[in-house]
Symmetry: C2
Subunit: 308 residues, 2 copies
């Protein structure tokens, strides 16, 4: 089968064997925004030399602005509920393929603020059955919008999001702080500056106050322009962790892109919180598990792959 | 004399009589950035029908990117130290004028993050001698970068800044949240949505987490596009207040632009913190007081105005 994580800015595709092992993988920068609605043509091009008929996708491709809006599954949810929410698409321009999209998750308390995710849940499912069934596990998936998940017995109990990655990009590109960093100061990681940012996030006063410190530290030559991005990153990640690491949390399971996961692991170490890191290929494993739990998919795969 | 508050985006000029009463005032959108270094020509044009020779300026005009960098006065400081830091400029293209620029204030602790302000200190001085000399007073000057001041016996003991106004503009103009608000949703104040934002800022999780709520509330039709800017404003101001209103604070003295001061007053009321509001004309009063405390200015004024 083919497992696809298709988000706003990129498409990652995995070709899997009958045991879910990754045979081949590719990542291209044709996210939703770049497709202009021609999802079938883009997908056909990406898959032209892979002849597996079964294609299961997850991510923003199932959102209102994606190929087809797949209703959110309500949280708490485990693999059964999520697999039951998978929707089959007409093959359209992709003859001989069976196309499916997995749903995202939504948490909809009556009084409090809703939460959503699309795509991260398959990474979570890729890890869920490897964690002890009886404990409460905390997962963090850093990104443009970080996701925090509480997992127990393989089920996703709750979600929380943080706009940390988007805030960093906004401040870097459009704010007074970004202007002070200069066009030259690329975000090469400066470890001491990052640590100073994480430590600064512990001071009283709040994020909006702390951000101004990026300016004043620069003004008095206490922070060089090429250190400022790492300091800012430490400040923002430090605030996210202080806000979202649950009290009494054991180990935080970090899933995501290498550099970002390293930054979060570094900040967690400064907060004396243990963590373990995993790569984004968990998507493939989660999608493989989902495919095995959905009847339509299993039937579609039936003729060709007895393992599914 | 003529008192001028000249900032990054605007110039406010006041013509004062010998008792510091405002005879005339004007406000124009020729801030530093719009001047392209031609400060004397811009000023000459603004003052052409006011013939008072004495001109005292404050604000970013005294910064590194202004007409001339006037060194910061170290905090704690009162009117004597600030008046002593005033610098006279060559009149240049403004013959017959005596031009002075007031310094800003800097707080430079060895270990903690520095703080600065330029321009707000004259508003503080405009109010300082009207407050009881023996208490500790908290002043808040909302703006692109809000300033919080602790005042005692007419002296500024400490400063703190918050980038709340800039964050609002960034999120409104460049973020995913701004895109959801739509181009049409202007920032007309929606009082219930603003209150919801202030209340939401009290929840656990931190600002980066709460900001994502603007998106999800919209996604599930719990917040209309034209309510979102007020909700966002309430969220950001709520965070600023929860971070910066000192514990046990009595009354917060708010100085600034009307609409913004009303928003802060509204949020403070929700936090059960009393406040009192003042307009920006305090600048004129503060500059008048400063002029009387500086020998060079008093001498320059001597021939024409026996009161100075």
């Amino acid at each position: 089968m083919i497992a696809i994580d298709w988000g706003t800015s990129s498409l990652r595709a995995y070709r899997l064997d009958g045991q879910g092992q990754v045979l081949e993988q590719r990542s291209v920068a044709v996210g939703l925004l770049a497709c202009r609605g021609r999802f079938d043509a883009v997908l056909a091009e990406q898959l032209q030399d892979w002849d597996d008929p079964l294609v299961l996708m997850a991510g923003m491709i199932g959102s209102r602005n994606g190929w087809r809006e797949v209703p959110y599954v309500r949280c708490p949810a485990g693999i059964d509920e999520i697999a039951a929410g998978i929707v089959e698409l007409p093959a359209g321009g992709l003859e001989g393929r069976h196309l499916f999209i997995a749903p995202g998750l939504a948490q909809l308390p009556d009084a409090a603020t809703p939460e959503v995710m699309r795509g991260e849940e398959v990474q979570v499912l890729g890890l869920a059955d490897e964690l002890p069934a009886d404990g409460l596990h905390t997962l963090c998936l850093p990104g443009t919008h970080s996701k925090w998940v509480q997992l127990q017995g393989g089920r996703i109990l709750s979600l929380r999001s943080a706009m940390t990655g988007e805030l960093f990009a906004l401040l870097r590109q459009h704010s007074l702080l970004g202007a002070l960093m200069g066009a030259e100061a690329r975000a090469s990681h400066d470890s001491p500056a990052f640590e100073r940012g994480v430590q600064a996030s512990a001071a009283p006063g709040g994020l909006s106050h702390h951000l101004f410190g990026v300016r004043t530290l620069g003004l008095f030559d206490r922070l060089a322009p090429d250190e400022a991005p790492s300091y800012l990153s430490g400040l923002l990640i430090g605030h996210e962790l202080r806000g979202l690491v649950p009290a009494g949390c054991g180990c935080v399971h970090l899933i995501g892109e290498d550099q970002l996961v390293r930054s979060y692991a570094h900040a967690l170490a400064l907060l004396q919180t243990p963590c373990r890191a995993y790569g984004q290929a968990l998507s493939a494993r989660g999608l493989f598990r989902l495919a095995r739990h959905n009847r339509g998919l299993a039937a579609a795969a039936g003729g060709r792959d007895p393992d599914l």
